[in-house]
């Protein structure tokens, strides 16, 4: 068996290595108080890498709580390698909000996970939670 690999003058840039656009997220509306829970996730496939190009983490108070508790919403890379946005609040007025739109340009390797999760320790009241990521996935 003979194998002749193409001459390697320089490795192809990531955008020429079978790049595809990837995205994941969730848009929850009118959510009642709840324990900490993952709402979406994305795992980098084997033999691939992903550059996270945009992260969105939005919260809005829809109806007031009584009493309000701690509300958290975050977008992180599982395993603690990166925290893209972390938000904690006890704001309780209707239309209080947190808007985060971030362009991190962070590289995830095969098997790493980016996910969104949130919690609301209030009593009553509802919130909107919206979290997304966009990225470029390509051969490792």
């Amino acid at each position: 068996m003979r194998i002749t690999q193409a001459p390697s003058t320089a490795r192809a840039a990531y955008y020429d290595r079978n790049m595809t656009y990837v995205s994941a997220g969730s848009d929850q509306q009118g959510i009642a108080p709840h324990a900490f829970a993952d709402t979406w996730s994305y795992t980098v496939p084997a033999a691939r890498k992903t550059t996270v190009t945009a992260v969105v983490n939005i919260w809005r108070r829809l109806t007031a709580a009584a009493p309000v508790g701690k509300v958290t919403a975050q977008v992180i890379s599982a395993g603690g390698t990166a925290m893209f946005d972390y938000f904690v609040t006890t704001l309780n007025a209707i239309d209080n909000r947190h808007d985060a739109i971030i362009t991190p340009n962070h590289v995830l390797i095969a098997g790493q996970i980016i996910k969104g999760n949130n919690s609301d320790a209030s009593t009553g009241g509802t919130c909107d939670f919206e979290g997304w990521f966009n990225g470029n996935e390509y051969d490792a």
């Binding site: 068996m1 003979r2 194998i3 002749t4 690999q5 193409a6 390697s8 192809a12 020429d16 290595r17 079978n18 595809t20 496939p45 084997a46 033999a47 691939r48 390509y138 051969d139 490792a140």
Partner: protein
């Protein structure tokens, strides 16, 4: 098995091949195989195959194996942009005749495949 005892003067290579492999051979017209992200059969088993040429025309790496259980990142890597694998019955024995499978991390990689088989 085709026999041609009356090879003409000058058909040196034909005579050499017939002596080496016992029969005349022909080139099978090439085929293109789109490699998927799941095991993709590149070529079927052919007991008459004496030679095989596989060229990766894509930009990504295709992995090759002779079993359909090939997994991502396993097998013989053939990087893109013209990398070539060749098999010969002379060197590789019956491996030359087996099914071959490929897999790639992303779609879009095409293999160009030629066979040399006996008549």
């Amino acid at each position: 098995m085709a026999q041609n005892p009356e090879l003409k003067q000058g058909q040196t290579l034909a005579r050499y091949v017939q002596n080496l492999w016992g029969d005349k051979v022909r080139l099978v017209p090439s085929v293109q195989v789109a490699v998927l992200t799941t095991p993709t059969r590149v070529i079927k088993n052919n007991p008459r195959r004496m030679g095989l040429i596989v060229v990766n025309l894509g930009s990504g790496t295709a992995y090759l194996d002779w079993l359909p259980s090939i997994a991502q990142g396993a097998g013989v890597p053939l990087i893109g942009a013209g990398s070539t694998l060749t098999l010969s019955a002379f060197e590789d024995g019956e491996l030359c005749s087996y099914d071959m499978y490929a897999i790639s991390a992303a779609a879009g990689n095409t293999l160009q495949v030629w066979e040399i088989e006996t008549l």
